[in-house]
Amino acid sequence: MTAVLQTTPALEPVPGYRLSLRRFARNRLALAGLVAVVLFLLFCFVGPLIYSTDQTHTDLTQVNLAPSGAHLLGTDAVGHDELGRLMYGGKISLLVGLAAGVLATVIGTLWGAVAGYAGGWLDAVMMRIVDAGIAIPALFILLVVSAITTPDTLGLIVILGLVSWLVPSRLVRAETLTLKSRDYVLTLRAIGGSHGRAIGRHILPNSVSTIVVAATFQVADAILLVAYVSYLGLGVQPPSTDWGGMLSAGLTAAYSGRWWLIVPPGLAIILVVCAFNAIGDGLRDAFDVRGRG
């Protein structure tokens, strides 16, 4: 049967949605990740309604207490309840992470799709810019920016997004390059279909799996990046905090044995980032997407 003298290799049909869903469901790690994310979201957003604590005012009578019945995870150096702080900080970490991750994916998708579809010198220039962006370590740029201004939460999301869109752009560009030369796109162009139609109706919809996988990994990276940023003192300012900030605040405490100030936030970060990575990995396997970039 097989084709002789093909100019493009024959494809295997992309798995349909049902098959992909089934594959994902069979990946235990990915499922665990999904469950973990849901639990954390509940913990951070619904938790404070059940276990409410005061996270704005300090209470110097309750400073540095070890975990007990009254304070399940102890208190920090200014008297805040740690468990409550964990929920409170988690809200910021998750929110900023999700928003920054999605923003980075959106910017990256647009950039990569344009570069991939246009080709030629525009593609070359756009990709050199991406290369330059990748060459500058994110952490360094963030520190420089912080030396100039102190951003609010929205500003933080924007800055993180601007620093992270590079990787998704390369992935989407690669996908666009592949799809651009698919027979159904060529046929459309041959009978007079417009570029807009090719991109809007064929290339982007078929890139969805790549984009979704990229977005998931971006969220994981963003949450981690937020943790770094806050740890270095550049993120949200007190009395607001997030998990990274809690780690930073609890640093000195760690050396004096007050483990409850750093282990919970550290574990929280690890679990959530791990969960998103596992989900992304599972999605990638389920959709048969190539490459992580």
């Binding site: 049967m1 097989t2 084709a3 002789v4 003298l5 093909q6 100019t7 493009t8 024959a10 494809l11 295997e12 049909p13 992309v14 349909g16 098959l19 089934r22 594959r23 698919r182 027979d183 159904y184 060529l186 046929t187 459309l188 162009r189 041959a190 009978i191 007079g192 279909g193 417009s194 139609r197 109706r201 064929h202 919809p205 078929n206």
Partner: protein, 552 residues
């Protein structure tokens, strides 16, 4: 004693979607020195049988029955025993030479590896043996070529290397799984000659797996026909090919396009010279078109001063081997590629100078069918949406209901049930997909259909249906057709004129029957001579007469 003895073989694969029985109760044998051809279409299980005989089935395969190679049982043997047999008692040649070799190891080393797997020789001796083997398989300058990497060799040469690896230790059984399917027809002829000579020389038994009846007629002594996992007919090659007894075999043979090589057997619409009224505008015309890719030293001249035209209502077959530029020419005709020099005229208008709305309106008169049934339809759209797309591009005024009607109409034209409109491409077979592609191409009632290898990826029986549909519709609707193909037999049946391309230029052109029966150039003659006909008696005669011609 047989070199290969298979009894009641059954193979079932456990996949994500359930158990798939690939082979059922298959029994066959191969004697020393004889060639048994195992034929069938896709899904027949023939490749599975071949892999089973080597013990190379993937982990999710369950095997029942008995296989013995030179007396040694295969089913149930452990990896050690099998490794001892593979490369020594039984070898295999695979279909795709482009990926069959390790890209990072030199070819001489890969051959030497096979030698050293089974013989206690030093590296130097193995290297020498490798050079010898390269010479035996006809690679020029073998000492030099042994240090080449696979990517530095052509497809045919790579296949020769694979054959060299297969015969390195003089196996009693050689299994060849579609060994020439991925090669140009002239190269195919050479490789088949090589295999035949080697088998004759060393009395090796050959199990030849193929779907190509011409190759069977050319090479095999006996034939076994497989359908959906079972053997439906076995016999000598004359019996099976000339006097088939099973229904399926008969159908299969009837579906095979046959290249007419003797004058009186010319049939079909291509009989007479076409009478076109002089002065009618060509539907599409390439004038002195040149296209090149790349820069500097690595420039590829895909087309060099190519001129061709298609007149209203006629079918022009554009044939050639890989690298001939036929697909490039088709893309230029479609406006997908801009020629570096020369002009392209579509319906009398210079395509290079038409833009915007005028260009779009021109292109609406063209329908396109491409080769790959999977990639030709966007799997995220339903059949109806795929077929309706040209309507959305060019007939914005149509309502949804009108579109639906037109889609249903055109699906019927290509002999597909209306109900298929709601399904997705994933649920269709290759032949159905190509017909949907065809429906999409015809939905705007084009004046020109450009088909680039529309059936090459399909099974032979399915291919016949699709080709018949195209021919029928052309009779009804009167569109012109530019039909690109590497298959001379198909072109002979369906095209009134043929253009033979080679290395970017037009080698020869003219009315199909005249050009293919009495070719003018040496190349065309060689091309035709290389195409095997599915008639063993005729094929043998051809070989003899061509052999005499060559030596004359």
């Amino acid at each position: 004693m047989s070199v290969l003895e298979i009894e009641d073989l059954g193979v079932t694969f456990s996949t994500e979607t359930g158990d798939v029985p690939a082979v059922r109760d298959v029994s066959l044998h191969v004697r020393p020195g004889e060639t048994l051809a195992l034929v069938g279409e896709s899904g027949s299980g023939k490749s599975t049988v071949a892999l089973a005989a080597m013990g190379l089935l993937p982990g999710n395969a369950r095997v029942s029955g008995r296989i013995s190679v030179d007396g040694t049982p295969i089913v149930g043997a452990d990896d050690r025993e099998l490794s001892g047999l593979r490369g020594r008692t039984v070898s295999m040649v695979f279909q795709e030479p482009a990926t069959a070799l390790d890209p990072l190891t030199r070819v001489g080393a890969q051959i030497a590896e096979v030698v050293r797997n089974h013989r206690q020789v030093s590296r130097a001796e193995a290297a020498r043996a490798a050079v010898d083997l390269l010479r035996r398989v006809g690679i020029p300058e073998p000492e030099h070529r042994a240090s080449a990497f696979p990517f530095q060799l052509s497809g045919g040469q790579r296949q020769r290397v694979v054959i060299a690896m297969a015969i390195a230790n003089s196996p009693g059984l050689l299994i060849a799984d579609e060994p020439t399917t991925a090669l140009d027809v002239t190269v195919q002829a050479e490789i088949l000659d090589l295999l035949r000579a080697l088998a004759a020389d060393s009395g090796t038994g050959v199990l030849l797996v193929t779907h190509n009846m011409g190759v069977v007629a050319d090479f095999a002594d006996r034939v076994a026909v497989m359908l959906e996992g079972e053997v439906v007919e076995t016999g000598t090659v004359e019996d099976v090919l000339l006097r088939p007894s099973h229904e399926y075999t008969r159908r299969l043979l009837a579906a095979v396009p046959r290249l007419a090589v003797d004058e009186p057997r010319g049939a079909g619409t291509a009989g007479e010279d076409p009478q076109e009224p002089e002065g009618s505008t060509s539907v599409v015309e390439l004038r002195d078109v040149s296209v090149h890719f790349g820069r500097g030293r690595r420039t590829v001249r895909a087309l060099q001063n190519v001129s061709l035209s298609v007149r209203p209502g006629e079918t022009v077959g554009l044939v050639g081997e890989s690298g001939s530029g036929k697909s490039t020419a088709a893309r230029v005709a479609l406006g997908l590629l801009r020629p570096d020099s020369g002009s392209v005229a579509l319906f009398g208008n210079d395509l290079g100078r038409t833009r915007g709305r005028a260009r779009r309106s021109l292109l609406s008169g063209v329908g396109v069918v491409l080769q790959d049934p999977v990639a030709s339809l966007d799997a995220r759209m339903s059949v109806a949406e795929c077929v309706a797309e040209p309507l959305r591009v060019h007939r914005r005024g149509m309502t949804a209901v009108q579109r639906r009607e037109r889609v249903a109409e055109v699906l019927e034209l290509v002999r597909l049930p209306r109900g298929l409109a709601g399904r997705g491409p994933r649920e269709l077979s290759g032949g159905q997909r190509q017909r949907v592609s065809l429906a999409r191409a015809l939905v705007l009632e084009p004046r020109l259909l450009v088909a680039d290898e529309p059936t090459s990826a399909l099974d032979v029986s399915v291919q016949r249906t699709v080709l018949e549909v195209i021919a029928e519709l052309q009779g009804e609707l009167g569109f012109a057709c530019l039909f690109v193909s590497h298959d001379l037999a198909v072109v002979q049946e369906f095209a009134q004129r043929v253009v033979v391309m080679r290395a970017g230029s037009v080698e020869e052109e003219g009315p199909t029957m005249t050009t293919l029966l009495r070719p003018e150039t040496e190349y065309t003659r060689r091309l035709i001579a290389a195409v095997p006909v599915p008639d063993p008696v005729l094929q043998r005669r051809r070989r003899v007469s061509l052999g005499l011609e060559a030596s004359a």
